[in-house]
């Protein structure tokens, strides 16, 4: 966290972390190739500049494509079947609805349907997140749609160092990975990751240890939870923060271990509440820990509406840090009805 970093410590932004991971992966392994809209330097190195410099250094391994999302993901799938590790950029997550067939019916399923004869080691990078005033078709967190399909890994980092290490892991993983980059926090900073250090997929991380309540989530809300945990510790409330890092496959073991310890849980995500990934997490907790829970497991999420444009409405849509705090207090104050 920028707030936690020592004044002179070197920090990098999320965007720099993504760029470094891509660069280092391409440098490490010539089978890493890249495609997407505007990603080559002639087009500016990507709308978000994440791929800046890569085509100049790595030549035809980095290719700008037409605005053809089905062609992009399809080409990534095909090249991966022939031994490459393609990284496809889908500029924004809402556009991922266009190549949904390639992702869901093909990338996710070819390993299983071929009986393990083929596999699809692709990474799809995509950016999203509400709060930047981009409205209903440029802001959605759609991770639950993909978490619902076996065969694909869904990854959301919450720090620049994790962003670097998780993206490297995605690229070198033998399964299709959907890597979600938050557009709101892209300029926020954190400690510099060690070069080449991968953060394992499918493993949650106890970002902060605590004893009273577990906050479980991924991505941007984890940053809020870390700040809250600091604040609440002043009141003697000990919050444990469990950062899933990988939404799916879900590391239920780490979540359950944490909640078994604290007896209370608040599950958070930016995506709308209903049918979100939080519902699955809550279900796992109650299935396994029903008798040990000291309060109902609560969810904090955004509202079940289209992301609005007007700032006042967008803020009304988004989950709030104050909502996480209120939920934490609610679980602590909960008393079983007589």
């Amino acid at each position: 966290m920028s707030a936690a970093a020592a004044p002179n410590a070197e920090v990098i932004t999320f965007t720099e972390a993504y760029s470094r991971a891509l660069h280092d992966a391409m440098e490490m392994d010539s089978s890493v190739i890249m495609l997407g809209e505007d990603i080559a330097d002639e087009e500016g190195g990507g709308v978000f500049k994440v791929t800046k410099g890569l085509s100049t250094k790595f030549g035809n391994r980095v290719r700008t494509t037409p605005i053809s999302e089905q062609a992009i993901v399809g080409a990534a799938v095909g090249a991966s079947l022939a031994g490459f590790r393609p990284v496809a950029e889908i500029m924004l997550m809402n556009f991922i609805t266009v190549p949904m067939d390639q992702i869901v019916n093909h990338a996710a399923k070819l390993r299983f349907m071929s009986g393990g004869q083929t596999h699809v080691p692709i990474t799809i990078r995509t950016r999203t997140g509400a709060g930047a005033g981009t409205g209903g078709q440029h802001s959605d967190m759609l991770e639950a749609w993909f978490a619902h399909v076996a065969g694909i890994k869904v990854v959301v980092p919450s720090t620049p160092a994790d962003a670097y290490g998780l993206l490297l892991s995605c690229i070198f993983d033998d399964d299709p990975c959907l890597f979600i980059e938050d557009q709101l926090t892209r300029t926020q900073t954190g400690p510099v990751p060690e070069k080449g250090l991968r953060v394992p997929l499918g493993k949650a991380h106890v970002a902060r240890s605590g004893t009273d309540v577990s906050v479980v989530g991924y991505g941007r809300p984890i940053r809020d939870a870390m700040v809250l945990a600091d604040k609440l510790s002043g009141e003697g409330i000990s919050v444990e923060v469990v950062d899933l890092r990988t939404v799916s496959p879900l590391d239920a073991e780490t979540v359950l271990k944490s909640v078994a310890k604290t007896g209370r849980a608040v599950v958070v995500h930016e995506a709308p509440r209903s049918f979100g990934a939080g519902a699955e997490i809550v279900a796992r907790i109650q299935e396994h820990l029903f008798g040990q829970l000291r309060a109902p497991v609560l969810r904090v999420a955004s509202r079940d509406v289209t992301v609005p444009f007007a700032r006042v409405l967008e803020q009304e849509y988004l989950y709030k840090a104050s909502g996480i705090e209120a939920a934490i207090r609610q679980t602590l104050e909960w008393r079983a009805p007589r």
């Binding site: 037409p66 062609a71 399809g74 071929s114 065969g151």
Partner: protein
């Protein structure tokens, strides 16, 4: 034109032999399905044997194929062995995909059968990726993707053709125009008289041929393979043909006018090809009969293999979802 592009009697015979293999496998499958001895979704290629065979003889085992649920003719033309193919139709553990993919998802990388998709038009973007890999590696492989006329109306077709032309990919788009997209007549669903006309919109070589004519199909295929192999870019081949057994096995085909069906049947490419082989002198009646017997024996062997094989064990459900952690 090089010698390899002259359609000799030997080339005709090679096409016939591949087509006859497809033909006999299909005949047997339909017998088994009718009698209930095979219970599987089946999309018969009856009528489309020649075009697959005439393309197949130009391809090498290392070349890639992406096909569709109506793909058994393409897979056989590519050289897939009968045992794992049949065992997959029989949902056995020894099937090409261990019984986990089934007829619509046949995969056999050793013979280049990389993807069989059940989603119309989805194969084209994937074929581009395989071809892109070959372009990057300069490995000289060609990727063939086959699909029906119906697929030429889906967005993926257009995205894929544009990208393939733009990147000059070594890919061949083979549209098997059997005049019906599922149950809808070609003219009712497609704005152009010939699918190959659409190639012009992407500055791509495009040709419409009679896919049931061994020579025309062989020449068009040879030219497309040579173009791809030479790094000169993609080709869209529209092979006009006819589908005798409807969309799916059991389809009564009431939407096909009787006169149209009858006329097509009279032009059935299989007997015509056989007659042409005999006229060409490439083979005798006795040799063709011996070939049939050889194929029937291979079919018997593969069926026995499938019958004798165990179904997948229940634990198989937990495998091949994800690979080992990286």
């Amino acid at each position: 034109m090089s010698a390899s592009q002259t359609f000799t009697p030997a080339a005709l015979l090679a096409v016939y032999r591949k087509a006859r293999l497809i033909n006999l496998v299909d005949e047997r499958f339909r017998v088994l399905l009718r009698s209930g001895r095979l219970a599987a979704v089946y999309y018969s290629p009856r009528g489309q044997e020649i075009l697959a065979a005439a393309m197949g003889v130009h391809l090498e085992a290392r070349d890639y194929l992406v096909t569709t649920y109506r793909g058994i003719h393409d897979q056989l033309a590519k050289g897939i062995p009968l045992r794992p193919l049949f065992a997959e139709y029989y949902a056995k553990a020894t099937g090409a995909c261990k019984g986990k993919g089934g007829p619509m998802h046949i995969t056999h990388p050793e013979t280049g059968v990389m993807v069989t998709t059940g989603v119309v038009g989805s194969g084209l973007p994937i074929a581009n990726g395989l071809a892109w890999a070959s372009q990057l590696k300069r490995d000289g492989r060609v990727t063939l993707v086959t699909f029906g006329d119906g697929a030429s109306n889906i967005g993926a077709f257009h995205e894929a053709l544009n990208l393939a032309a733009l990147w000059k990919l070594p890919v061949i788009f083979l549209c098997q125009n059997n005049l019906y997209g599922e149950c809808t007549k070609y003219e009712k669903a497609t704005s152009v008289a010939n699918v190959a006309e659409r190639a012009a919109a992407y500055s791509m070589a495009g040709v419409t041929v009679n896919g049931n004519d061994p020579e025309a199909m062989w020449l068009a295929s040879g030219a497309a393979v040579a173009r791809a192999r030479a790094g000169e870019g993609p080709t869209l081949i529209e092979a006009k043909t006819f589908r005798f057994m409807g969309h799916y096995f059991g389809d009564p085909g009431a939407y096909i006018p009787k006169a149209e069906y009858q006329a097509a049947l009279e032009r059935d490419p299989m007997p015509a090809c056989r007659a042409a082989v005999l006229v060409s002198g490439a083979s005798t009646e006795a040799e063709l009969a011996a070939y049939d017997a050889e194929i029937e024996a291979r079919i018997d062997d593969a069926l026995q293999y499938a019958a004798d094989s165990p179904p997948p064990e229940a634990q198989e459900i937990e495998r091949d979802i994800y690979g080992a952690a990286a």
